[in-house]
Amino acid sequence: MEEASVQQAHVHAPPEGFLRKHVFSLDHKVIGKQYYALALVAVFTGMILSWLMRIHMVWPNAKIPLLEHLTSAGAPGGIITPEYYLSLLTMHGTLMVFFVLTNAPFAAFGNYFLPIQIGAEDMAFPRFNMMSFWTTFLAWVVLMLAFVIPDGPPIAGWTSYAPLSAVGKDAGPGMEWGMSLWGISIAIFCVASLLGSLNFIATTLDLRAKGMTFMRMPLCTWAWFITSCIALLAFAVLLPACILLILDRHAGTSFYIPANLVISDRLQPHAGGSPLLWQHLFWFFGHPEVYIAILPSMGIVSHVLVNSLRKPLLSSRVVIYSMMSIGFLSYMVWGHHMFLSGMNPMSALAFSFPTLTITIPATVLTLIWLGSLYGSNLQITSASLFALGFISMFVAGGVSGFFLAQPSIDIYLHATYFVVGHFHMVMGVASLFGVFAGTYFWFPKMTGRMMSETLGKVHFWITFVGAYCIFMPFHYLGLIGNVRRYQSFVDDFMQPFLGVHKFVTFAALITGAAQFIFLFNLIYSRFKGKPAPDNPWNATSLEWSIPSPPPWNNFGGKHPIVYHDPFQYGVKGSKGDFVMQDSPEQVIGASGD
């Protein structure tokens, strides 16, 4: 068994002054909250963008109030132009994937809870940590600038395929400075992410408290650790991709742009580049990225579930190995985004097999979660509802992957709404459910107050049913061949199905509105919520052994000693049916792992 050695001396002094305490804080908890706040702003922005898209899709000539004042070029008279629709689409994807799904489950909760859960005083490199948040913030500012420049945001989608993204303003509106701002923003984001991952890895390797062996780490800690390993490789490849893109756009190089292109009646002054190079580099990042988006949520859900079931999972070791396998396999499958891209068709089969194989650890996880429910003492709270909802959504989103993993079926379903349904269910819903579960679970610890369970449950029900109403129909639309990224449907065969789109739009508006209940609950409870005890959920991991909210140095200068894994539920403990990790008492009546 691995033993970690003595805890290090103080990483930094107690913060003094407003700026040090709340703005340029070295404290991982503050930084975690800052990431969360940024993700909150990004997710509501992204959600409103999606509303605009859905409204426009169903009522193309709708005059949206206020919009022409915000962006006269993109929505003259309040009517969204086709190019502005694509800008909304691009910014929606970029904000959601980078600033929400990489930030919230990973950077926000990971920063806040990883050090505490391993018994450390802070992250290994608090200064780098602070830098990584503010660099992320800078990336967000640069991205949002695209909204205010006259030509507007780019129209190439979050995937920014070359040569559309590489040639500059000839490619269309928003493709001059808008596209450049995108490239710069994402490059900055890569640097921030690399710094963050570095911190997570070093901290997990080296700052575990005495007795905190790897196998005694909570499952969400494992998820953050594995995710940071994936992120290190992934962002290290996206950064070069963006650099090459910026060079093609501004320095006249031709990494991605071949010869003889005539765009906007101009023969482009480039030659020899490869559009497929962008796709390979981007998806080599892009596929691990989606696992970066979901693994932390899997960890959070596992963590919340164990607590809610009042018994350990069937095997936490298997969960850990499954998460590791997913991480490992995620690097072998990127070509499944490129089956029809013109790359060697033989390679399609080479990518298809690991893609199908990833189903194995994903199924193992699902069966472990399901099997752990059996014989449990399931407690229903807002947090556990979202954890259970995650399982449902993960399955729903995952099974559509069977189809897309097969190149022959992908011939038909590629670039249709089937794909949109698939990735929204796994990323947009399942991953977000993990964030919700984590929020309801950890809010008491972070703020010292309880959230309203009533509002939480209302939020759950509307979101859960609403998300199915929005995204399940996308699969059906995909089956009939509804192509994606269209601002309106002029094809003859689509006319009979516009009613489905209307239904989805209404569901999206209602489900989106319910998120304001969540926002209200967050803000109201922060100030007026019932005071929270240190351990409101009778949980075992180290974060519940310290006050709510924790002091600046987490453990008050003490060095915790860990005696158990975090799965000691359903046992005869001195405080109830559980034994905390740092409690020296012997465990009676349960099997440790």
């Binding site: 005539v262 259970l388 099974v399 993993a405």
Partner: protein, 266 residues
């Protein structure tokens, strides 16, 4: 509330399956020779995916129903067999599925991509540009003229950049805005992108292939039914992407020959 969730899960599972089971969103009719294999594959996958989906939701619902809100002090139980059963089940279920879908699915893919076009396939060149498709036929001499990007002149409908003044082969090339083909003949579509990435998608033909600037790609297919079918662009190519389409016009052999003659005389 656990029981309510269980009920809702089952309703959602059944409601999700309903449109599939009742064929409310049917695939368009298959007018190709290779499409049947793809449809079969899709059907098989739908069964496996559909059953997995419903089974998982129902199992989740059943466990939530049974184990949420139990009396305090109810005994905890472990799923019989524990994690070993789950891991074994996952490997067996998914493993067989992978073999079945992966190995069988290979055939459908192979029929499109690993078989070369027949020697007598009709060669037609497709050019994708912002925001239209154009098609070029070699004309009576059977040869395509060269492409000269500097000669492209949209205003004068020289979409391909042909140079008939200096290039003999291009003098009889036929350029059309519609992809006109004879039924039951193999077509080899040579795909050329003029500006950015596009894609060629005909649902009924079960064909989709990206146009990649700088790459000479081709697909081959045989249409089995006369009629007009939409060709749409499926690779985001700019503001007109949603409106970028053309028609595949499948004619009888005789009508096709007439059409060619008509075009050639223009």
């Amino acid at each position: 509330m656990g029981k309510a969730l269980a009920v809702v899960l089952v309703i959602i599972a059944l409601a999700s399956a309903y449109p599939i089971v009742t064929h409310r969103f049917p695939l368009p009719e298959d007018i190709s020779t290779h499409g049947h294999a793809i449809d079969q594959q899709l059907n098989d996958t739908m069964w496996e995916a559909g059953l997995s989906f419903v089974a998982a939701q129902v199992l989740l619902a059943f466990f939530i129903w049974s184990f949420a809100g139990r009396k305090a002090g109810s005994p905890l139980k472990n799923f019989p067999g524990g994690a070993k059963v789950m891991v074994t089940a996952a490997f067996l279920l998914v493993g067989t599925e992978i073999l079945a879908l992966g190995v069988l699915g290979q055939k459908a893919w192979a029929s499109v991509y690993f078989t070369p076009p027949k020697p007598d396939a009709i060669q037609i060149q497709a050019q994708a540009e912002q925001f239209a498709f154009y098609f070029r036929y070699p004309g009576p001499d059977g040869k395509f003229g060269g492409l000269h990007p500097d000669k492209i002149d949209e205003g004068n409908q020289n979409y391909f950049g042909l140079d008939p003044a200096n290039d003999v082969d291009s003098r009889d090339d036929i350029v059309a805005g519609e992809l006109v083909i004879p039924v039951n003949r193999e077509i080899q579509l040579m795909m050329h992108a003029k500006d950015v990435g596009h894609s060629f998608y005909v649902r009924e033909l079960r064909i989709q292939q990206d146009f990649v600037p700088g790459l000479d790609l081709s697909v081959h297919f045989t249409a089995t039914k006369i009629g007009k079918y939409e060709i749409v662009c499926t690779q985001l190519c700019g503001l007109g992407h949603y409106n970028m389409k053309a028609y595949l016009n499948v004619m009888s052999e005789a009508d096709y020959e007439n059409w060619l003659k008509q075009q050639a005389s223009q």
